[in-house]
């Protein structure tokens, strides 16, 4: 009896993963497009965004692009492979990259607090900056506010893309020509788009405007209201806290314009033809549902989407159905290696079917959207060679 062991179909998960009617996401064609300068990898937590973006960056660099990859929270061993264990908020060259095609790779890990501090230092007078940096409200905002990481990832992306020199025209060779961005780990892929807005609206809220300029604008009629508010706040929080808030707000005044402008500029940049989003998901119901929300949201915002990467898709090179494997195992001694292997295969085949079904349903909800799959690999993705393997699998049309 001969099962499928045709090498062309070994790891045939690829062909199984993407339904025939779903277009293939050609990652190599994407990376070869010299007009593409920013790739943003989004997805819900735990889908392998960081390793996917690192793998893309390595592949692009070895194909001749000058790449910088912005990672958010890489696993320690992956960070070691990229040479970015220390968090210094500056891109560093990655050792061991094949530069024969003329490319290069730099990597950095986002330091949220430092990025925020730098914004403050760059846009406020030294005296005001000092006031802000020492303020307890600023410290809470810059370290633990839930939207700060996303906002700072955008901010850093803005800084990195300024170095692309797109607005300076041709003639000057920029330090890099492709930025690959990994997005912060959050339960929802949408957080990357929502959080900066959340932070802006907080810093731009009525309270702050009122505290800043109670006597100006339409709000001047509300100054009676202000008195009520401040007296209530000082009763509850104490005078010290209230004065901290006021110092914070006053010191932040100069920055508000800058924050809004930069957030808008970065968003406008993202809507340009130089940018594309990739949605990363695993072939499970929850991750794919998140991916669907994200795809819809990008369409609403007019943001460009290249396609979806389905990561960790289970497959098998042994075309033996779960049922057959179980039946064959029945006839063998229970604790023999053969029976164990057949049962393990049967379990795997169930998982393969479930993965396929999840992907099929997802593709039906987003018809026409391009997709590529990466098979589940044994072991963690940590070394540069692992990243090369993932890159190859990302780019491969068939297993």
């Amino acid at each position: 009896m001969t099962l499928v062991t045709d090498p062309a179909r070994a790891g045939g998960h690829r062909a199984w993963g993407r339904p025939e009617t779903t277009p293939f996401l050609d990652v190599d064609a994407l990376l070869a497009d010299r007009d593409l300068h920013i790739v943003i990898c989004c997805g819900s937590g735990g889908v392998g965004k960081t390793s996917a973006s690192a793998a893309l960056a390595v592949r692009a660099a070895e194909q001749g692009r000058r790449v910088v990859v912005l990672t958010i929270d890489p696993a320690r061993r992956l960070a070691q492979s990229l040479g970015i264990e220390q968090l210094d908020n500056t891109p560093r060259p990655v050792a061991g990259i094949d530069t024969s095609a003329g490319g290069s790779l730099e990597a950095m890990m986002l330091d949220m607090k430092r990025t925020f501090d730098d914004v403050v230092l760059a846009h406020a007078s030294p005296e005001k900056a000092e006031q802000i940096l020492g303020n307890p409200f600023y410290q809470a905002l810059s370290t633990s506010f839930s939207g700060t990481q996303e906002y700072m990832a955008m901010e850093k992306l803005g800084q990195l893309s300024a170095e692309l020199g797109l607005d300076r025209g041709a003639g000057r060779r920029a330090r890099w020509d492709l930025i690959v961005v990994d997005t912060p780990p959050s339960r929802s892929a949408l957080d990357f788009l929502d959080a900066p807005e959340h932070l802006s609206s907080l810093l731009d809220g009525r309270l702050l405007r009122l505290l800043l300029n109670p006597s100006r604008g339409p709000l001047r009629f509300m100054s009676a209201g202000l008195a009520v508010v401040t007296s209530a706040m000082s009763r509850v929080l104490g005078a010290q806290v209230l004065s901290d808030v006021q110092t914070f707000v006053a010191a932040f005044e100069t920055l508000f314009g800058g924050f809004r402008q930069r957030a808008e500029a970065t968003l406008a940049n993202l809507a340009s033809p130089h940018t594309t989003f990739l949605v990363v998901a695993t072939p499970e119901r929850d991750a794919l549902r998140e991916a669907t929300f994200f795809v819809e949201r990008l369409a609403d915002e007019g943001l460009p989407l290249a396609g979806v990467v389905v990561n960790r898709l289970h497959g098998s090179a042994v075309a033996l159905s779960a049922e057959r494997a179980w039946a064959m195992a029945e006839d063998l001694p229970e604790d023999g290696l053969e029976a164990l292997a057949l049962r393990a295969h049967a379990t795997r085949m169930h998982l393969v079917e479930r993965n396929q079904e999840a992907v099929r349903r997802f593709c039906a909800t987003v018809p026409g959207l391009a997709l590529t799959t990466v098979p589940a690999l044994p072991g963690d993705v940590t070394a540069l060679d692992d990243l090369r393997t993932v890159g190859e699998l990302l780019a491969a049309r068939d297993g």
Binding site: S188, G225, A232, A341
Partner: protein, 319 residues
């Protein structure tokens, strides 16, 4: 029915390890023999509603999520810092008009977003209130409260509210509230369980969380290894299997045997990797629980199976 060993179970874990699922299963495991258990979430994600397949939990309703087969019930509460602040102010201050003005000017949003530690003290404060109902003989009291807490990276600062509000309030009602919360968290009645996967990163974070919780005086309970690959092989049997097994399955030709063997070798390598991760957790000295991966996904039946596994493996905790 005796009281559970702990009345407040805090469940944390690295993102993606399934801490909400484990919190749900633990609540069900505790809800035996007519017990009432409250399951709380604090991140406003409606993870509990999703897990139990019920409509979103709103406001301060403590709606029933599930009645367990052995006569207990689990109720759910989605705690929201903004509502908690309003409730807190209404309880301790008569703000009246000023309260509405605060809302109108976005003070609540501002305060709960960036006032250092305030958010955490408000969230834990609601949990504290639910725990205290029983000792005070108040209505709607619970035999146990399970908290689906923030992830391991934030758990120590989240629970260490005393430290957190230090910068905000040195005296006054917020400070004394933090004192009372801390007292309950450090008491014999409270325990923190950590959920992990048997993978490098989650195990590292779990060990770090155990370290970080040490100085807070809050007890660490079990380490729950979630989504463990089920295998009939004991660790000893696994060690005895060669890394590259050769197979001879009747009915398969040589090439198919080789392909099956290669696949089996990968499975074995993954199992060995999981086992190595498990071994790294042993020195932490916490009871280790293993919950099997359910490829069918999590529904109520799966939750019941997990609850049963928790009861078997943590008999003292959830008997």
């Amino acid at each position: 029915m005796p009281e559970p060993l702990h009345t407040l179970h805090v469940v944390s874990g690295k993102g993606g390890t399934g801490k909400t699922t484990v919190a749900g299963a633990l609540a069900m495991a505790l809800a035996t023999g007519g017990r009432r258990v409250l399951l709380c979430e604090v991140e406003g994600r409606q993870g509990l509603a999703e897990l139990f397949g019920v409509p979103p939990l709103q406001g301060d309703e403590e709606r029933r999520l599930v009645r367990t087969p052995d006569g207990g019930e689990v109720r759910g509460l989605s705690i929201n810092a903004r509502d908690a602040l309003m409730e807190y102010l209404a309880t301790f201050y008569r703000l009246g008009l000023a309260g509405r003005a605060l809302d109108k000017f976005g003070v609540y949003d501002f305060a709960t977003s960036i006032a250092p530690g305030l958010r955490d003290v408000l969230l834990t404060g609601k949990v504290y209130e639910a725990v205290r109902r029983r000792t005070r003989g108040r209505p709607h009291s619970y035999d146990a409260v399970v908290l689906d807490a923030p992830p391991t990276g934030r758990i120590a600062p989240f629970l260490n509210v005393h430290e957190a509000v230090a910068g905000l309030a040195r005296v006054g009602p917020i400070h004394s509230q933090a004192d009372s919360i801390m007292q309950v968290l450090r008491s014999r009645r409270t325990v923190v369980h950590l959920v992990t996967l048997l993978q490098d990163m989650p195990v590292t974070e779990t060990l770090e969380a155990v370290e970080e919780l040490g100085p807070t005086g809050i007890a660490v309970g079990a380490v729950v290894c979630n989504m463990v690959t089920p295998t009939p092989l004991t660790p000893e049997a696994l060690a005895a299997v060669p890394a590259e097994p050769r197979l001879d399955v009747p009915g398969l030709d040589e090439a198919d045997d080789a392909a099956l063997a290669a696949e089996f070798a990968d499975e074995l390598a993954a199992l060995r990797e999981e086992h190595a991760c498990y071994q790294r957790l042993v020195p932490a000295g916490r009871p280790l629980v293993e919950l099997p991966h359910d490829p069918a996904g999590i529904d109520r039946a799966a939750l019941l199976t997990l609850a049963r596994a928790l009861r078997e493996q943590l008999p003292e905790e959830v008997a």
